[in-house]
């Protein structure tokens, strides 16, 4: 195991280094510069040049790249060009919103999607199966941000049970949690719909295999055949999808964050990109890349747990 982990770590660092280079080059090639944006349409060229110098944008590209990489190792990500505050703090402020939101949404997705998928498979071609198909189809067809708008119309402006958006901060834990409920539903339910279909298909697939028939022939109760033999084996593709979904929920929540006016990392990435705050956007993008790699690693680990055969081989 340690050998695997070590190899994994080396792979992780190497991938991030390659990713960092790609990110840096692509961002550097984007048209537009932060100084001109900050100074607006009345500024003269000499003022823009002075600000560029102040922001360090006049340094050669290789020097800026190396100082970024050096900063990554020392934990200093530099200062945001637009906000003027350390990027690490800026990202931390956003992640304390985004990570709990993604976890809540994942809870919704898994909690609703997997049982419903199993249920649909267990009642294959019966009413629950058809019902689940229809619901899942709708869930996949409805975009998350639009679901968010509907939730706001119904629960906030209609019933007045929730704020229409915004985030009070974790200083008020209950209010903060409450602010995440509707966005988590908006994000989680469409993902749940995907999980319903994946789970159902996977369970049906496993259920047609010989060992399941053997278990049934042994005279095991149907419930035990379903949960111990079929579902457990059917979870491998589901876990893969859940892993992908978690990365999406962190990095791809920007539309839902916008609808609910939540200061998440997706919104930070979007704002930083439109302001050409390259110092911020490059670290945020690298964080996304690192996240995908880590989640994939965790998914691989979960295979070992789910499938003893892999453990024996590993």
């Amino acid at each position: 195991m340690p050998a695997i982990l070590l190899r994994r770590l080396a792979y992780f660092v190497a991938t991030l280094l390659v990713a960092s280079l790609v990110i840096f080059v692509v961002l550097d090639l984007l048209p537009g510069n932060a100084a001109a944006i900050l100074l607006g349409t009345s500024a003269r060229p000499d003022t823009i040049a002075a600000l560029q110098q102040q922001l360090g944008l006049d340094q050669p590209a290789w020097w800026r790249y190396l100082s970024w990489i050096r900063g990554l190792f020392t934990g200093d990500l530099g200062r945001s060009l637009t906000y003027g505050v350390p990027v690490s703090g800026l990202m931390a402020e956003r992640l304390v919103v985004t990570i709990p939101l993604a976890l809540l949404a994942l809870l919704v997705a898994v909690g609703a999607g997997v049982p419903m998928g199993v249920w649909a498979a267990a009642r294959w071609r019966k009413l629950p199966d058809h019902a689940a198909s229809v619901v899942a189809q709708m869930g996949i067809a409805i975009p998350d941000f639009w679901l968010g708008i509907l939730l706001i119309l119904f629960f906030s402006t209609g019933l007045n049970w929730f704020s229409a958006g915004g985030f009070p901060g974790w200083g008020q834990p209950l209010a903060a949690l409450k602010a995440l409920v509707l966005p988590a539903l908006a994000l989680g339910l469409p993902q749940a719909a995907i999980l319903v279909r994946v789970t159902r298909a996977s369970v049906l697939d496993v259920a047609s295999q010989d060992f399941v028939r053997t278990a049934e022939a042994k005279g095991l109760p149907a419930r035990q055949v379903l949960w111990r033999h079929t579902v457990r084996n059917a979870l491998l593709p589901v876990v893969t999808i859940v892993g992908l979904q978690f990365s999406f929920l962190i990095a791809g929540a920007v539309l839902v964050e916008n609808v609910f006016d939540l200061p998440g990392i997706g919104l930070l990435a979007y704002q930083a990109l439109s302001q050409r705050d390259l110092v911020t956007i490059r670290s945020v993008t690298l964080f996304f890349a690192g996240l995908v790699i880590i989640v994939n690693f965790l998914v691989d680990l979960s295979y070992l747990w789910l499938d003893p055969r892999l453990r024996a081989r590993g």
Partner: protein, 497 residues
């Protein structure tokens, strides 16, 4: 089915733990929604309008200020004299003013603030306002004497801008994140991406002001989210509401006071005057005559907005309505095109920022020009980054459209390398003369002439002045209807009992 029962359970759990907030005791706080979060809170180092919205007149103050009509009024200077030759301004300063950190405000502060803005390495977005200054004397703590290199007509007017506010030398490096000014409100906190909180400055020089104990600016980018926040009561109002199509519904709602005021922002479709066929005045005049401005306003901003005939906003001092110089007249447009040798029209490209109101303006302009045979191909240009690089700096465009948000910026047409590429020595001379005229009436007469030249020559298509849409709780008083300098001024706001 499972999903909805889970939803229900979570909802019930939340409702049972919900605390009852927002009781009805005499209210002295204000939560105001704004569409754009500022990137910093120091208006003297960068341009974005959002910085002024939070800080102008609320946290920072200048020697003078503007009133709701855009007229200059005393603020930290109680009075000023201008010498006969227009070269020496003597400001008498308000006594007993202190910054929020206790630093007294005196003539040394005036000298420091203005010298900083005009310094070699200054990154003040309006550095040109301060360049006429030759030197500043401080004969005593309450007198500041500013000597100019040449008479400068709008010198005092420009001192009312956010770029000219008074700053404490000790806090200039920190103002960006923790602003310290002399204003009625003190900075309390900034949760990035969410809100800026201000609290009453109990030592404010004007006794009895402000009446509110605290003000929170909440940043809500999405127009739908602004409307939802208003309806759910999350905010007491939204200043600079960005969903004109939802505005009428709020106007009919008694709980709200929905006002369409005036702002300095102008939607202008600039042309590259250095490129054919836009180098021919007749072509530009034809294009202007082909456009029904009111129809554009109806489509792009739900009918809110003021048609303009020149690069001048109704809130700017000396405004003249020149929309009748080239009124909507497609036949006239065709005739002008024929005279210019383009009887069959021509093809061109139009670079448009992605904001919906600009895009809709572009599409309307495109439709009206197609009526007279001019085929415009619309290309999206990401604003601000790509547009600034491509159009503003690179001049790589034929037609464009953008929101010019600065007040009193007609002088941009006289700048040698501005993106319109308009060259008119007569206009330049007029702007220079107006700039050097200290007498207000005389100056306004010159600016009127400058407006007439632009209206006649049409270096850019003048479409409409953006409204200042605000939707406020009906009990909230003391907020401005107009926004002469794009501010969100809460100094005089209060709740009606």
């Amino acid at each position: 089915m499972f999903g909805s029962s889970l939803k229900l359970r979570m909802m019930m759990m939340m409702v049972s733990t919900m605390a009852c907030l927002g009781s009805a005791v005499a209210k002295d706080t204000l939560t105001l929604g704004l569409p754009v979060e500022p990137t910093g809170l120091d208006p003297t180092i960068s341009a974005p309008v959002a910085i002024r919205e939070v800080t102008w007149g609320n946290v920072f103050e200048g020697l003078v200020t503007l009133d709701e009509e855009g007229e200059v009024q005393p603020l930290l200077a109680t009075a000023w004299d201008v010498s006969e030759d227009g070269l020496t301004y003597t400001f008498r300063l308000r006594d007993g003013v202190r910054f929020h950190n206790g630093t007294p405000f005196d003539s040394s502060i005036v000298k420091f603030s203005l010298d900083r803005a005009r310094a070699e390495d200054s990154t003040n977005a309006q550095k040109q306002f301060f360049e006429p200054i030759a030197s500043i004397d401080t004969p005593d703590p309450l007198t500041a004497v500013v000597h100019l290199k040449q008479p400068t007509g709008l010198f005092v007017y420009h001192l009312a801008w956010g770029d000219a506010v008074m700053v404490d030398p000790a806090t200039v490096d920190a103002n960006r994140t923790e602003p310290v000014g002399t204003g009625p409100f003190k900075f309390k906190s900034w949760q990035r991406g969410i809100r800026v909180e201000l609290v009453r400055n109990d030592d404010y020089w004007d006794a009895g002001v402000p009446r509110l104990a605290a003000v929170t600016f909440r940043f809500i980018d999405d127009a739908q989210a602004q409307a939802s926040a208003l309806r759910a009561g999350d905010v007491d109002g939204v200043y600079r509401f960005t969903a004109p199509e939802l505005f009428d519904a709020f106007q009919k709602d008694d709980r709200f006071n929905a006002v369409a005021g005036l702002s300095p922002a102008k939607i202008v479709a600039g042309m590259n005057n250095a490129r054919a066929p836009f180098d021919q005045p007749k072509v530009r005049q034809a294009m202007m005559s082909a456009i029904d401005r009111q129809a554009v306003i109806d489509a792009a901003y739900s009918g809110h907005g003021v048609p303009i005939g020149s690069h001048y906003a109704p809130t700017d001092p000396g405004y003249v309505d020149l929309t009748d110089v080239w009124p909507y007249d497609p036949d006239k447009a065709r005739a002008l095109l024929q005279e210019a040798g383009h009887a069959d029209g021509f093809k061109a490209s139009m670079k448009c920022p992605q904001m919906s109101y600009v895009m809709r303006t572009c599409e309307m302009v495109q439709a009206f020009l197609a009526e007279v045979g001019i085929q415009l191909k619309i290309e999206t240009s990401e604003f601000p980054a790509k547009w600034i690089e491509d159009v503003f700096i690179g001049h790589n465009f034929e037609v464009t459209a953008v929101n010019h948000a600065e007040p009193m910026d007609i002088d941009i047409y006289s700048r040698p390398n501005y993106y319109f590429q308009y060259k008119n020595p007569q206009f330049n001379a007029l702007i220079a003369q107006a700039g050097a005229t200290v007498d207000e009436d005389e100056r306004n007469a010159l600016y009127a002439k400058a407006q007439e030249i632009l209206a006649e020559q049409v270096p850019a298509l003048y479409i409409f002045g953006m409204p200042q849409l605000s939707i406020l709780d009906a009990r909230l008083k003391g907020m401005w209807e107009n926004a002469p300098i794009s501010e969100a001024y809460v100094r005089d706001a209060y709740w009606e009992d």
